[in-house]
């Protein structure tokens, strides 16, 4: 009897270890990447986009999935759509499923494209890299349990969102989007150099002029264009 008990115990422990391994491995295997570059490399392909909705469409078109997004910009773009996440009533189950599959994507705007990216599995984590002045104001208001070395940590139904003013140290390649709204400061060269030296890896680098955001100025868009030229030369 002792021997049988030991066999059962071993089987249960093995099942646990296998579960840990399989879930971890399959989870990572679900992430979809393109060709990976280090930011320190020269001639990294970059996409200049006019609107935030174009950015979301590009991510979608490339079939990217389960990714960390590093968004450099002054805004969060994380406003959930009105009447979103609402099971309208007892109706057709298929209708509700279709809404869950497509609902958020039917109205992608500059106010919500990062939220849509999380809702539709393109992003599993988001790092919001804010200009220093914007971050300082937020940090003062954050609760103590929300702060750590990375910055302000919050979550959207368990999906991690980090708000920071420093380029994070991430081992995994990221989707890097640099929004024109980041360029409150005119020190474009310093920002470009900091990125080049950061050690970050990317498979998709996008520069968004945010022409659909009325709060982004022409000067900031011009600085983004200048950043693009400087970054290519480094």
């Amino acid at each position: 009897m002792t021997r049988f008990r030991n066999v059962y115990s071993a089987a249960i422990i093995l099942l646990f270890l296998c579960s840990l391994n399989v879930l971890h491995r399959e989870g990572k295997a679900s992430r979809v990447f393109e060709r990976i570059y280090s930011l320190s490399e020269a001639n990294i392909p970059a996409y200049m986009l006019n609107r935030s909705s174009d950015l979301y469409s590009l991510w979608k078109k490339k079939g990217l999935r389960g990714r960390i997004v590093l968004h450099m910009g002054r805004y969060f773009h994380f406003v959930s759509a009105e009447n979103a996440l609402h099971f309208g009533g007892i109706g057709d189950f298929e209708e509700a499923r279709e809404w869950v599959r497509r609902g958020a994507e039917t109205s992608v705007t500059e106010r919500n494209f990062l939220w849509v990216a999380v809702e539709h599995d393109i992003a599993r984590e988001i790092y919001h890299l804010l200009p220093r002045s914007s971050f300082g104001q937020l940090l003062e208001k954050a609760r103590p349990e929300e702060r750590d070395d990375e910055g302000i940590i919050t979550s959207y139904y368990g999906s991690k969102r980090v708000i920071t003013d420093r380029i994070p140290h991430l081992h995994e390649p990221v989707l890097l989007n640099i929004d024109a709204s980041f360029f409150e400061s005119s020190d474009v060269a310093a920002i470009a150099a900091e990125l080049k030296e950061s050690g970050l890896k990317v498979d998709l680098l996008t520069l968004c002029l945010s022409e659909d955001n009325p709060d982004v100025s022409t000067v900031e868009r011009e600085r983004l264009r200048e950043f693009s030229r400087v970054f290519r030369r480094l």
Binding site: Y8, I12, L85, F87, V100, D121, R124, Y157
Partner: protein, 419 residues
Amino acid sequence: MDNRKFSLGLFLLLLLAFVLRSYGFSSQPPSADDLSAGLSAIRYMEGGQLGPTMWNHPVLRNILVYLSLQLLGGGIWGLKIVSLVLGTLSVPLLGAAARRILKDDGAALMAAFFLAVDPLHIDYSRQAVQEVYMPFFILSGILLSMKYMQKMKQTDRTSPLLLILSGVSFGLGLASKWYVAFPLLITCACLSYNAVRDSGDSSGKISKLIFHFSALIVLPLTIYLLTFAPWFARGYDLSEWAYLQKAMSLETATHTGYNPFTLELDHRASLWFIKPVAFADFILDGSRPVVLLGMSNPLVWLLTIPSTIFVLYRGIRERIADHLYLAALFWLTYIPFLLAHRPIWAHSAFSVIPFSFMAVSTSLVSLLKGKRFGRLSLLLYLISVVIIGAPLYLLATGKGLEIGWLRPLVERFRPGFER
């Protein structure tokens, strides 16, 4: 009482529980929680995404509600049948578990009767949220563990499958809400204590201890982990799962409800057994308001504290191990709720009312057995429970606003901003 009579008693209670929980089931409009539970189930199973409701709790509800939606469609039955079934089956499970713990068939049936007619449990057996899952899984886990323990005492050759099934049951409970960990740990501790005390060589004892740990700790953890498979499929790894648990526990520790009105309802665990407590759900059925007001039956709930103390006292004085086990199940599960800083609403009492009902029934039977008019007193008491429970049943099933003399009671729960 022989086995046939006891089984017949349980069957009748099962029927009673089913009738009370299913009457008017289809015509009760879904609440916001019901609809959110349906949406959360679809989001989770089709995309691994948590929320919108109760994202900070484990995810078994999402899995079971999704399966029932697939089988039965998006109507009331698809949304809520899991709660109806588990809530109903909890009644005979309580009777069976109580029989093993209390060693008194009459007290066991009485405990099951209390649950069958409990208005708050009836209310939540008719909702899609997971509150009635936990008593079901806790009771089945305890029942299987006790069967295993009792067979072990008779012969050392009992099948380990009983304890493995117990671990599966506790694991499913843990995957419903974390507080199942308390009765799980207590049960594991009891089994292990018995294993150490038993005669036998040390290698046999070590083997038993390792097996108890595997079946009742490792296996439930495995099941808990596996329920997150759809979430992992979004691209997450183990380190991120650990972060998720931390985020869930932070939200759980600081959660103050989705609606400010809920803070006007009873939200302290210390009140559960010293006054009638209630939870209200407000629904608009077209333009007609419906209020589901689940309130505890004071004739049963208010006997809890003295009964559990009496059970503990008897357990110590007369060295009744099962009484000590019951007292530990109640108090060691209840105390963490007492110590919680955040609001704790009445339905969280489902964590302890199976034990509470066992304590009340065994205390009443112990005190009145053999006494003159003892049986009559018990009968009158049970009739009183039914008489008090009848209007509470109407309130729990949303009929309060339709019945003139119940309206004033429902109106007391009108949100402050509407008064």
